[in-house]
């Protein structure tokens, strides 16, 4: 079955590079951010068009990433101004209604540009990472508290993502070519706050796995979403021990994406498949989505302005290229993210100043 890409809509209105985008959990809105120091909010007008509904101008530097909390009520943006801003957002039932409340919180602990931010599953934690080589975890539920300062990368940390089933695992990726998995020390006491009886030390977040396979900067890493079918999510096990071992796809300046697999609890993640790209083209972003036939699709974007789709073979579980759209944008593409509600739709953000929505169709 041949797949094809159709451009649905171009989001125009940013000046300068669009660094990143994220979807609202209900799939009705997209936030984009970029060199114009703004966070733009766009909404689906249901007539095939998306339009800008809100603009936030609180940053004083290039805005590197945005993330939308899983319950939809918060958006975070992080910037080269060293700060991360949390916005309370409200999506009205009226499809065009959208507000960002004035109550915003600013997180400003990093010493250098903040490169990434990510909410955890229940939206009570947010993690940030920076060129200062640190990641920080913040409890933002009823007041702000710093929960951890994660020290271990040797270079700029480009981004982070939370493990979908082990909620106490945070994954970071870096200019030092590595992907690290960190364990929240609080789970060591069954999720209860740790009382340091001795009063002399507190547990740090520890690296539990280091994924080494890329030979240059890792720009993006995404866990595979749970498949719609055969999932047995009892959600009770907070640490390793869950039966679901999601694969991870990572995009790197070494002109490849790697699909990492973890067969079971006893084995660490290992390279499952390396998918090469044209030499000297950095891959900036990748994301995946399950299809109706229950095989996975990976979309990846790179410095050659192209979008490529890879489909999983249901028996060998290897991915092979099924779509290559050259010149999808007029400049490098920084980000690709699937819609959370429609597995056939994804969006890309580019240095050409636009974000574009795409639809996968089969012939």
């Amino acid at each position: 079955m041949e797949l094809q890409l159709t451009k649905l809509c171009t989001l125009e209105g940013s000046t300068g590079r669009v660094w990143f985008l994220c979807w609202s959990p209900d799939g009705t809105h997209i936030a984009t951010c970029g060199e114009d120091r703004l966070v733009h909010f766009w909404t689906d007008k249901k007539d095939g068009k998306w339009s800008e509904v809100w603009k936030e101008e609180k940053h004083t530097g290039s805005v590197r990433r945005v993330d939308w909390s899983p319950n939809g009520d918060k958006v975070a943006s992080c910037s080269f101004d060293k700060g991360t801003i949390l916005y309370n957002v409200h999506i009205e039932t009226d499809p065009y209604g959208f507000t960002v409340s004035e109550e915003v919180d600013l997180l400003s602990g990093h010493e250098a540009e903040v490169k990434g931010c990510a909410f955890n599953k229940d939206g009570k934690l947010i993690a940030t990472c920076s060129r200062d080589r640190l990641a920080m975890v913040w409890d933002i539920d009823q007041g702000i508290e710093c929960l951890g300062i994660l020290q271990g990368h040797q270079q700029d940390i480009k981004g982070l993502t939370w493990h979908p089933s082990y909620e106490s695992i945070l994954c970071t990726y870096s200019y030092d070519n590595r992907i690290l998995f960190w364990l929240d020390p609080r789970v060591l006491l069954n999720g209860q706050p740790q009382f340091d009886e001795m009063g002399c030390y507190e547990q740090d977040w520890k690296v539990v796995e280091a994924l080494e396979g890329h030979t240059s900067t890792v720009w993006d890493a995404r866990f595979e979403p749970k498949r719609q079918k055969k999932e047995d999510d009892d959600g009770t096990k907070p640490i390793y021990g869950d039966s679901f071992q999601p694969r991870l796809v990572s995009a790197s300046s070494d002109s490849s994406i790697i699909v990492w697999t973890r067969p079971d609890d006893a084995h660490p993640y290992a390279v499952g498949q390396t998918i090469p790209f044209p030499p000297s083209e950095p891959v900036y972003s990748a994301d995946w989505q399950s299809t109706a036939s229950d095989s996975m699709i990976i979309a990846a974007v790179s410095g050659d302005n192209a979008i490529r789709l890879f489909r999983e073979d249901p028996t060998t579980h290897k991915f092979s290229k099924v779509v290559e759209l050259l010149n999808a944008h007029n400049d490098e593409i920084n980000c690709v993210r699937f819609s959370p509600t429609d597995p056939t739709i994804f969006a890309t953000a580019s240095d050409d100043g636009t974000a574009v929505l795409w639809k996968i169709t089969s012939q």
Binding site: W19, T60, G61, S62, R64, F80, D81, K82, D105, L106, L107, S108, G109, H110, E111, A112, E113, K115, R131, D132, M136, D139, I144, E145, C146, L147, G148, I149, Q155, D156, Y175, R186, P193, Q194, F195, D196, M198, G199, C200, Y201, E202
Partner: protein
């Protein structure tokens, strides 16, 4: 010196991102401590830079060179052991605190050839007292008013200790709007440096009748043994921005950590892991040098004059002093036991949701007071981050729960200086050592606490020419003997709002 503005830096920058300095030239640039202080890039420099400039190799070379110098030009080597170094050493090898001091002192004297080894006890007391008087003076409008403080007074709260170089450097570079909260009172290391160069040196030169060809301050090479690498930066800042007119020398010439001290033992083939080493020491043990009263670990029964708290007991001392002050007129005289009980010690729930000894508050509540007297001791970069977020939110929204704290002792390491990066990891990680640490600390005793100034003794012949006797308070002595400029300068900075005399931002 170029440093990149954060707004102009692209995400795709190619050169090494360890430091912003190497981007200016293609060849390898040697980064010095001064570069690190002047640059607005990373906050603290790489440990390798610190170690290469103030390290044991440098000390070895100086000691060797000194051996061949003539009597007139020989340097006088003075070591100051900070309490957390001796405490950690005692915990590591399961010794009483005094024995740890005696062992280190013996090694420095007999094996390395130091002329004087001091224990920083008087500096510890003076640092606490300086901080107390600065807090009192800055809070005077609140403390002397019968009414609850207005928003302007509250916005200055809490005052934050400026004795941790890691915290102060971080605040200056990353959160300069919070600098007005910082106190200027010197740390133990700085206070000890001043005592060595401005009190000890002149008296020593009189006593030993040393010809003044070279000022004795310059002949003294003062090494501080510290729990922390950032103290190396602190010592350098003093040298760069000395508050005393005409000063050309640092008050601390080199800072070595306990880790480096342990390497020195190793280099001299002293095996500390062997219990025999402590039963039959390879060198004679030695008390600390009296130094006209600057040290107190002089006999095996000596106690260290501090609260049994990891940072020196700043929060406890300030709390006691402020409570004494506000209750003086309103509450009938309490006996000591009642006084102790009236101060509540609890976990600082305004800082963290988890109960921890790294965030404690001390509070005295009395309905007749306009506001409760509350101080806090908050240790570790994680809680420090939370504090900073809340303080910055208070600046934006003009109020914060933290404004109920009058003073917070904020230190960058968990367990304050007893969790310092210059201590072996066992001190913070191994349960047995941590347990030892607790019991060693219990041997401290706040003998001078916050009210009594320690006494120093002045040799009879010098005392005869001074307006006081042979036993006198160290502050009086400093002020009269040799220290007038420093004391007056220090007192005046206390009430001003400019950044600390110790930590002036270089522009």
């Amino acid at each position: 010196m170029i440093s990149l503005s954060s707004l102009s830096v692209s995400d795709y920058i190619a050169p090494s991102q360890n430091c912003v300095i190497p981007v200016q030239k293609e060849e390898v640039v040697k980064v010095s401590l001064n570069d690190c202080l002047a640059c607005s890039g990373c906050v603290t420099s790489a440990e390798s830079v610190l170690i290469s400039e103030q390290g044991i190799d440098e000390l070895d070379a100086l000691l060797k060179e000194n051996f061949s110098k003539s009597l007139e030009t020989k340097q006088i080597f003075v070591a100051s052991i900070e309490p957390q170094v001796a405490t950690s050493f005692a915990a590591l090898y399961n010794l009483p605190l005094t024995q740890a001091y005696f062992f280190i002192s013996g090694f420095l004297h007999k094996t390395l050839g130091f002329d004087y080894v001091l224990d920083s006890a008087v500096a510890q007391c003076l640092s606490v007292q300086a901080l107390i008087s600065e807090v009192e003076s800055r809070l005077d409008p609140i403390l002397s008013s019968p009414n609850p403080p207005d928003q302007t007074s509250l916005s200055k709260l809490p005052l934050l200790s400026g004795t941790c170089p890691g915290f102060v450097c971080y605040l200056e570079k990353v959160h300069p709007t919070l600098i007005p909260h910082l106190l200027h009172a010197p740390s133990v290391q700085h206070m000890q440096g001043v005592l060595v160069k401005y009190f000890f040196a002149p008296i020593l030169s009189t006593v030993q009748n040393i010809p003044p060809t070279i000022p004795l301050q310059k002949r003294i090479y003062h090494v501080a043994f510290s729990p922390c690498y950032d103290r190396k930066i602190e010592s350098l800042r003093w040298a760069k921005t000395a508050p005393i007119i005409g000063t050309e020398f640092p008050v601390v010439d080199s800072v070595l950590t306990l880790k480096e001290l342990l390497t020195l033992f190793e280099r001299h083939h002293i095996v500390l892991s062997d219990p025999q080493t402590f039963q039959n020491p390879p060198f004679p043990l030695s008390p600390c040098d009296h130094a006209f009263g600057l040290s107190c670990i002089l006999t095996p029964e000596s106690v260290f004059p501090s609260y049994p708290a990891p940072s020196g007991g700043y929060a406890e001392s300030v709390e006691r002093h402020l409570v004494e002050r506000v209750t003086a007129g309103t509450v009938n005289a309490m006996n000591q036991g009642q006084f102790e009980q009236s101060i509540q010690k609890r976990w600082a729930s305004k800082v963290t949701k988890s109960q921890t000894n790294n965030a404690l508050e001390f509070s005295y509540e009395n309905p007749s007071l306009p506001m409760p007297v509350t101080t806090a001791a908050v240790f570790g970069f994680r809680h420090l981050q939370t504090m900073i977020q809340k303080l910055k939110a208070a600046q934006r929204q003009s109020s914060s729960a933290l404004q109920s704290y009058m003073f917070v002792d904020l230190e960058a390491c968990p367990s304050a200086c007893l969790g310092g990066g210059g201590l072996p990891s066992a001190v913070v990680n191994e349960k047995a050592v941590v347990e030892n640490l607790q019991s060693v600390q219990q041997s401290y005793s706040p003998i001078f606490a916050d009210k009594q100034t320690p006494l120093v003794s002045i040799p009879t012949d010098i005392a005869a020419s001074l307006p006081f006797g042979e036993e006198t308070s160290v502050l009086d002595a400093l002020q009269h003997v040799c220290f007038f400029f420093f004391v007056s300068n220090w007192m005046s900075t206390v009430s001003s709002s400019v950044p600390s005399c110790l930590f002036v931002i270089s522009s």
